[in-house]
């Protein structure tokens, strides 16, 4: 019960796969194993996937926690508009990226993980989710209320001066007579 946001899990999985692909690629290139060109490709692909997946999406319901320093990545990813907003595009993109990784031993794990992430993104896209950037909230200044512009015209209710000044013989009573009775609660 309850709506599960698949995109959050897909994002974590894709980021981890990007890192694994990158590591596998570095190992493949460093060791100059057979098929190291695939490893070089995996390095580039891994970096790309990490950059794409680093900014977290805003959650539909609940608080969204940003990753540290993701603001600049958010701005870059947001600039691509509907390409990055839509999860169908991401699903097919990841599926396409992961295929060359399967040809070399060092990068095969990254390939499979990215494939799983692409499947989860497909599930998220079918459920109708999309990527929302987390932007810092601009504090909307409350529009200045009407009453500020018009200060009160009349002083607070108290009787006019002539009624306030009591005759001398009634000095023991209060300084002025309140038209409204004030009682101690």
């Amino acid at each position: 019960m309850g709506k599960i946001e698949w995109a959050m899990w897909a994002n974590e999985q894709a980021l981890a796969s990007g890192l694994i692909l990158l590591t596998g690629g570095i190992v493949g290139v460093a060791g100059q194993f057979r098929g190291w060109e695939f490893a070089a490709y995996a390095v580039a692909a891994g970096v790309f996937v990490c950059l794409l997946e680093y900014p977290r999406s805003k959650r539909a319901k609940g608080t969204s926690v940003e990753r540290t320093g993701q603001y600049c990545f958010t701005v870059c990813v947001k600039a691509f508009g509907p390409l990055t907003r839509n999860y169908y595009v991401r699903a097919f993109l990841h599926a396409a990226i992961c295929v060359p990784g399967g040809f070399m031993l060092a990068t095969v794990l990254g390939c499979v993980c990215l494939g799983i992430a692409s499947l989860i993104y497909l599930a998220a896209a079918i459920r109708g989710e999309h990527w929302e950037p987390i932007l810092p909230r601009k504090d909307v200044r409350k529009p200045v209320a009407e009453s500020i512009k018009n200060p009160p015209q009349n002083p607070p209710p108290r009787p006019p001066p002539e009624m306030r000044r009591k005759p001398a013989k009634e000095l023991e009573s209060s300084a002025y007579d309140n038209p409204i009775a004030v009682t101690d609660e």
Binding site: M1, G2, I4, E5, W6, M8, W9, E12, Q13, A16, I20, V27, F33, R56, R59, G62, V65, L105, A106, V108, L109, V112, C113, I116
Partner: protein
Amino acid sequence: MAVSLRSWVANEGGKHLVLMLWLGANTWMFLNTFLLYSTGQQYHYLYKMLGVGLCISRASASVLNLNCSLVLLPMCRSLLTFIRGTRAVSSRKTRRLLDKYKTFHVACGVAVCLFSVVHVSAHMVNLVNFSVSYSDDFPALNLARYRGEDPKRIILTTIPGVTGVLLVLILLLMFISSSHCVRVSNYEIFWYTHNLFIVFYIILMVHMVGGALKYQTNVEAHPPGCLKPNQSSTEQRVEDLDRLEDEDVGRCREDARFEPHWPQTWLWVSGPLCLYCVERLYRYIRSSAPVTIVTVVKHPCNVIELRMLKKNFKARPGQYIVLNCPSVSSFENHPFTLTKCPTVNRETFGIHLRVVGDWTERFTQLLLPQPRMDVEILPMVQQRTYPKLYIDGPFGGPSEEVFNYDVSLCVAGGIGVTPFACVLQALLDGWRGFRLQRLYFVWVCRELQSFYWFAELLCALHQKLWQENRPDYFNLKLYVSQAGDLQSMSEERFRPLASRLLVGRPRWKLLLDEIGRSNKQKRVGVFCCGPKGISRTLHKLCNSARSCGTTFEFNKESFS
């Protein structure tokens, strides 16, 4: 706030000791196995073929065995509750260590992931070496079928290879979905992927079948590096010649014979796995009887109190139960702390639950009658049909220890007061039987209305203790953190609360100083159940120096 050694040792010493022991066990296993494979006579030929990759992979495998067996033990919650309950077995220090079971589980899990990476990398190197250094002298030792076989083919055609790939995939899925943000946003994803552990363990136990690595069985008859009977010494390589001269090995009496290792993982893993399965079965059987809902009370600030009845249900103050309501969701289980335990006189037990999130909302809708606009004036006797409810538990929590200190400080934030409500209820029933001599109770809420959840209980306890001439036993402080208007409880019967109500956030350092001065040279148990900010500040304060010689031991009850 300077960290004082004595306070730090009292608070953190036990945890760090266990951590050191665990690290030491891992290091010892790693080094032991590494040395076995690099210097053992029976592995000599294998070592020559594979190199140091063999030692690293086997050493990390033994560490993996250890951690895979340890990772299950902290999750046997009923067993931990039982250990907590038996006074004779464990001391307060051991029980305090039991609070950290989740951290230990996470530490073992991270170790499994880390050493899996090491293990997989070392085996990749081994595969390349199996293929490149295909041995013609000892064909039985080879895993590859011919020299230069593609390592990918070796992976896909041997049992260890295929099972290894599956294990890594499952492990990765489990690890990634147990990250903090996935757990917080969608607990179900974490729960369902984590339950793949059973597949993981089954595959782990067959991982070694097939015998990829073999050891030599006849070391006496064929000392490694000896000369073959029809070989002359000039055909030997230089280093062998030097060694032969040193060791005077001589001729081999027979050819080397190799046998694969029998799988050892099941020795390590089957014990904890059986224990865990038995525990789950026990919990399932125990929770199969539905509970009867006796009363449902609505409290201010979105809190519902639920009173229930179940046969043979026993609980101690500070424990929690897990609720499952099939009408709301068949698979979701939610933990709630008990606010009232069953006693000899009254067998009902109760929880207070705050309506936050979709499960609690739906659950409350099923429990409470819906306000209908067209309700008739005449009161109708309606048969209230409550939904079927199953509970699992009770499970132990840190707040059970409140009674085992001379002086305790309980700090509650908002709905975090629930474990302490049970403690106060137990004190109301009979406060003389416990070791506890003084209880400080600090409750911080955002709104004034929240205090009405337990206002009667607090006043009743206060009244009882004053009448029995122990006014210093229960010291209450209530704080309302958000200053609004009308901040006072005007009812006459809640006068003790109104006079102890303060507006604003509490100042913890001053509070702890005051408690320290009144209880010199004592050990005060601090129990915190509330938001992270409060618990972090209190933890730091408990670790810092105290001028009056009082030690504060910090115990935290976590929500999730």
